[in-house]
Amino acid sequence: MEKTNKKRLWITLLCAGALLILVTLLENVLDPSKNVMLFISLKKGAVYALVAVSMNLLNGFTGLFSLGQAGFMLLGAYTYAILTIPADQRDAVYYIYNGSAINFSLPELLGGGPVGLVLGVLLALVLGGCVAAAVAWLIGLPVLRLKSDYLAIATLGFGEIIRAVFQWDKLGPVTNGANALKNFPTFSSFNIQGGLRLSTCVAFLLAGICIAVILLLINSTYGRAFKAIRDDEVAAEAMGINLARHKRLSFCISSFFAGVGGGLFAMLVNQAQAKTFTTAMTYEILLIVVIGGIGSVSGSCIAAFLYVAASEWWLRFLDTETYIGGFKVPLLRNGFRMVVFSVIIMIVVLFFRRGIMGDRELPDLLAGLSGKTRRKEAAGK
């Protein structure tokens, strides 16, 4: 048991390391201007993978159906943005409110330069997660007593409330009201001038570390307790698992990583604006979780990349009117991409209910495959 666990750990680490190196290599070898789409999709996929995994922790591993993910992402994104906008840019960003109420920037506070940048960004991301977790803790007090779909609708409502609060004019000097926060360090800030391009690598690294932590949690004694709650609440409680505490824990941790994911999202889209974090975004993430398989971390990751690539890249040709020879391909026009895409989603939901991975993980699958071939070989002999 221990041994296979160790083996799995090694496989996972190796895969992750290889992926990281591959991504860095790709980014530095391929012509960046020809392959922007690839890298943007990769970055977005990494961010969505993190957010999907954090949602999966809650929905798939603890059995709490929450739809507040976008709200927590918003908290993380704003915290990150507010703390990292350079001081001399603040007047330009908060131009409506004649400057910001907060006049420091973490990267500069930590000494500026590359070291300050790295430390400041990391600290701001973590703080963003902490803010999200703290708010989750507060909301969890009343809301987590609710059962499945009531919980879903209450968290959904919470997301809307958060959005309205952040758009409130009176908070303008902090949140910049309806205006976008921008000019903060993004993934591209990590590209070394004239040297290594690290932006995609940074996105993968940050998201990867967070996902690894979630994985560690899931495989710890707490993660097992979460799964017990998911499978049978009454039995879990009878076996000494404090429901309120563990649900809150799961909710806060999930929100923490959603917050970090929000910060990363802000880095991805170069701005933070409350109107981006809509319920539609939560639904998108939920669909990623479903497509990947509820209860599978690797499924969520794979699905995140597939989802982003399919919806924003591969299927884009469906949006443009195309002529093959003199023949106009029917149906192709704006909006068709999303129709096709939602049909695909419906097919997955209805006919491939377990998603790509079900509740298995990639190493299981690999181990299973190699096991099978070995058995086959044995049978052959």
Binding site: M1, L216, L217, T221, R224, V234, E237, A238, M239, G240
Partner: protein, 280 residues
């Protein structure tokens, strides 16, 4: 030897107008195997649920190892409805959640087996160890509790060996045959390191041979883990063979109490089980 482990004191459980348990009093001493029997709907499981904190009783108290763990008096709507004895005797409210009761040293099984379905046999037992773990989320996630984790895993291996499920430990819990699922549920309860084991109809749905094995098994684990066992059962064979004392419940009221031999000859018990003419 005769130290009282569990004491149920004047417990009444009323759902609206229905009295499920009416002024129940009973005691279980250390090392004993005590049974609670009664016809269907007599309120046995309700009594269990009150003891383990699932329900809050309308009135009364529960003591465990000399400590009062549950206490309640009629409140709200019940104030007007409740006209039982001992009204006004209890004034404080003690309402621990079931998990707290379990951590105090009571573990239970369920009438309709409630295993964690997507988990393996091993994990089912291991999860029950969670309540005895001293690590916090941080130390657990970053594996700073390796020692404890290893010890727990060894414990679970041992436990599975003892209950005879070691050979199926990597199977899914739900793939086991019925009898083994029962055993697994008991093993899971044992993993929570209880002093008092509460078994809710452990032999339900078993054939005579399985029941016999179970009887022996319960005795075995009692001795091995120095447990006190309190069980609900229908199978008279099992009850008569292993219990030292028996309480009989009918329509929520205690109608008899004594050794198996006494109960077998108690007229009220026979009436309750067979039905008397006034019923007809």
């Amino acid at each position: 030897m005769s130290e009282t482990v569990l004491k149920v004191e004047n417990i009444t459980m009323q759902f609206g107008g229905v009295v499920a348990v009416d002024n129940l009093n009973l005691e279980v001493n250390r090392g004993e195997i005590v049974a609670l029997i009664g016809p269907n709907g007599a309120g046995k499981t309700t009594a269990f649920n009150v003891i383990t904190g699932v329900y809050q009783p309308t009135n009364g108290a529960v003591w465990f190892q000399g400590e009062k763990i549950v206490e309640n008096h009629p409140q709200g709507k019940m104030k007007a409805l409740y006209k039982g004895e001992h009204a006004g005797e209890y004034t404080a409210v003690l309402a621990p959640t079931p998990d707290r009761v379990t951590r105090l040293g009571m573990a239970r099984t369920f009438q309709n087996i409630r295993l964690w379905k997507s988990q393996t046999v091993f994990d089912n037992v291991l999860i029950a160890k969670h309540c005895r773990s001293t690590s916090n989320v941080f130390s657990a996630s970053f594996r700073l509790n390796r020692k404890e984790e290893t010890r727990q895993r060894e414990n679970v291996e041992e436990l599975l060996e003892t209950v005879g499920l070691a050979d199926v430990k990597n199977e899914l819990a739900t793939s086991l045959p019925y009898g083994k699922q029962r055993r697994l549920e008991i093993a899971r309860a044992l993993a929570a390191e209880p002093k008092l084991l509460l078994l809710d109809e452990p032999a339900a749905g078993m054939n005579p041979q399985e029941t016999e094995e179970l009887t022996a098994f319960i005795g075995e684990i009692r001795d091995r883990f120095q447990l006190t066992v309190f069980l609900i059962e229908h199978h008279m064979n099992l009850v008569m063979n292993i219990s030292q004392r028996i309480y009989v419940l009918d329509f929520g009221r205690l109608i008899a109490h004594g050794t198996p031999a006494e109960i077998q000859n108690n007229k009220r018990v026979i009436d309750a089980y067979l039905g008397v003419s006034e019923d007809a």
